[in-house]
């Protein structure tokens, strides 16, 4: 793996639930708790909404690390969504190596609406971890090497449409 250069800044995509972690991150802001600026939050109603494919897509789109965070067990606004997320995560985490992603690039945490401080610790921790891992380049390389030429891609898309 290429060593990170001094100008490189990791890109973190954070999928957070609306009720606990997003509000917790709001609290961190209201409390003026300074954080590393590398995380970009994508708000979903519940961690149960997070499809494992989102994580793959995030890496494909240039993320160096992904964080999933929601309500603590038993605190889910939707009763059980976070349990589904946890189950998916347990399975999916084990499959990451198979798709060529170092599993330490995917993080999972529970941050409640009152845990502004914890949110900062989690985000900064993930950013530090990813910074130590260096940029995630495998998918970019794969994309450039194996992507279909645009003309072929369009033809394929058309064919799919005809069959649909």
């Amino acid at each position: 793996m290429k060593m990170p250069t001094s100008t490189w800044n990791p890109k973190i995509v954070a999928f957070v639930c609306n009720w606990c972690t997003y509000t917790g991150a709001d609290l961190a802001g209201t409390s003026r708790l300074k954080q590393e600026p590398n995380a970009r939050l994508i708000r979903v109603p519940c961690t149960g909404r997070i499809d494992p494919v989102f994580v793959i897509k995030a890496f494909e789109s240039g993320a160096d690390g992904v964080l999933i965070s929601g309500c603590h067990p038993a605190d889910c606004h939707y009763n059980t969504g976070n349990y589904h997320a946890r189950r998916r995560w347990t399975l999916f985490h084990n499959l990451l190596d198979f798709v060529g992603i170092d599993s330490s690039r995917l993080h999972f945490s529970w941050v409640s609406a009152s845990e502004g401080k914890k949110w900062v610790t989690v985000v900064d921790g993930v950013i530090d971890e990813i910074r130590a891992r260096g940029p995630f380049e495998r998918y970019q390389k794969a994309n450039s090497e194996f992507a279909l030429p645009p003309a072929l891609f369009e033809a394929a898309a058309k064919e799919v449409q005809q069959h649909a």
């Binding site: 961190a28 802001g29 600026p37 519940c46 897509k57 995030a58 240039g62 038993a74 606004h77």
Partner: protein
Amino acid sequence: MKIGVFICYCGENIGRTVDCAAVAQACASIPGVAVSVDYKYMCSDPGQNLIINAIREHRLDGVVVGSCSPHMHEKTFRKACSNAGLNPFMFEMANLREHCSWIHDDIAVGTAKSIDLVRIAVEKVKRNEPLTPIRVPVTKRALVIGGGISGIQAALDIAGAGFQVVLVEKEPSIGGHMSQLSETFPTLDCSQCILTPRMVEVYQHPNITLMSYSEVEKVEGFIGNFSVTIRRKARSVRADLCTGCGDCVQKCPIKKKAYSEFEEGLAFRPAMYVPFPQAVPNIPVIDRAVCTYYKTGKCQACVKACGRGAIDFEQQDEFVTEAVGAIVVATGYKLYTIDKKPDDSQYKGYGEYGYGVYKDVIDGLQFERLASASGPTGGEIRRPSDKAVPKKIVFIQCVGSRDESKGFSYCSKICCMYTAKHAMLYKHKVHEGEAYVFYMDIRSGGKGYEEFVRRAIEEDHVKYIRGRVSRIYEKDGKYIVRGEDTIAGMQVEIDADMVVLATAMVPQPESAVLAQKLGIAYDNHGYFVEVHPKLRPVECSTGGIFLAGACHSPRDIPESVSMASAAAAKALVLFGSDVLEREPVVAKVNESTCAGCFYCQKVCAYNAVERREIRDRAGNLRKVVAYVNEGLCQGCGTCNATCPSKSVELIGFTDEQLYAEIHALA
């Protein structure tokens, strides 16, 4: 698509660390953006007019405002869109304040991140669909959980407005802690004298269904449409036959096996008991853990005593389901103790000052019972060990409160006042006695409160010592209280006959379990959390559920009563309309691709997924697909993530929208 981008400075809140003009300029070049401007305060009237005019002038299809958290102003801006004739759901917010300007110092960093955040929102809004709110009917009945003074007040207010109320109390009688108190500060009026008429009023009110000795088992549904299952615990006495004569209680031979909960362990109660003479309802309960019949099957003294044949040993817990539109939670507090069985308690216990070891080291509620005319000593202050009148009492404040190492960080708020009251009551009853109070600070904010404390010090000569107590030990029948007087700067030792600890208030131990049933938030202590600490102090983040009294935070009687009335008013606001508009963020099934695997049904926490048969014109069954009941769906999206064929989509958070957001980051 024509998207309008509006960047807010929020005065200096965003403008200080984000170059808003540069963000607006950069966003103008995002594909689809037709207009991109910045303004000092977007939420102000001129700011909103700016948006409205731009929508009309540029015929915008979507709006993105880069300002504060959507939890703050999403509604404001949606309304502005709506006023301009744009569907309010064609709007997204980029959180440039809480998630950017307030947490970063560097302008370049803040500006770059802001552009990213707006770009994500623009990509999402391009894929938004115009939606209309879902209208659901409102069941105009309320459930009140907890029959202390807060629950009583809330129930009476809602019932008084003409709506049905179900009041659930887990103890055999309503009344709560207030019924245990001797006198109340700052007026020193008798607690029971003001409370019991209200208890009777609850019992006799035609609009109130009282379910005592009952607990909430399960809560389903949502605002305006809750379905609550209540466990009516078996009293072993038939409420329809019992007249409350009390003959069975008199005849019960098991007099000294169980401590009275009402007397805070200072007296015994029989196995067949009513908690206190003024109990409402005045129907006894058999404590099956100590009753001889349940152990050996032999004793039937109560059956013989009862002229009405109301005793029913075979009675089972019953479950009733009530449909309500609003829920008021008023479960109250407990005092922080080391408990008789510390293992059962979620708290480790204070474990200091010999509490639970020395018989004459008691807590505030126990002192209330000693001072109460209906208490075990008939209102005489006598210490529990030898029933002697204590000549010297030490009161210690802040036991567990304001003490993170041994208890809780918070102030329990009522202890300064009740300690002054206790000391005063003691001096009124034992004229020659000496009362000492160890305090950290005197917090007596409230109408007539400071004057009350001054009265204790100046007229009743209670000696206040500012400082903490380091230890208490027993010596020659006295309790030596060693502490410091921080004003005199010296160590003090008092040989007391009795010590009263003003232990911290804590929520009921089962509060977290109840919160999980209700789906409401609670803090690390177990107190329920309101949706906004200042502007929405009695509402929970789950719609239709309101908070009253000490289950929210430590508070005294007047504050609990006002909060209960506020919660009742909120429930009445809800009952003011026949239908409720709800956000249309619900799941929707694409019937043409649904394969009918029903994984969505398995993961749905609300039973919102139903089976729908698709038939051809001849009436032949073609296939069975999933169908989402909009009224039940709460919009979590778990089904969407689970569906193998992606045939069920969460409107407002579709795969297409989320992938667009992810791609926008590249």
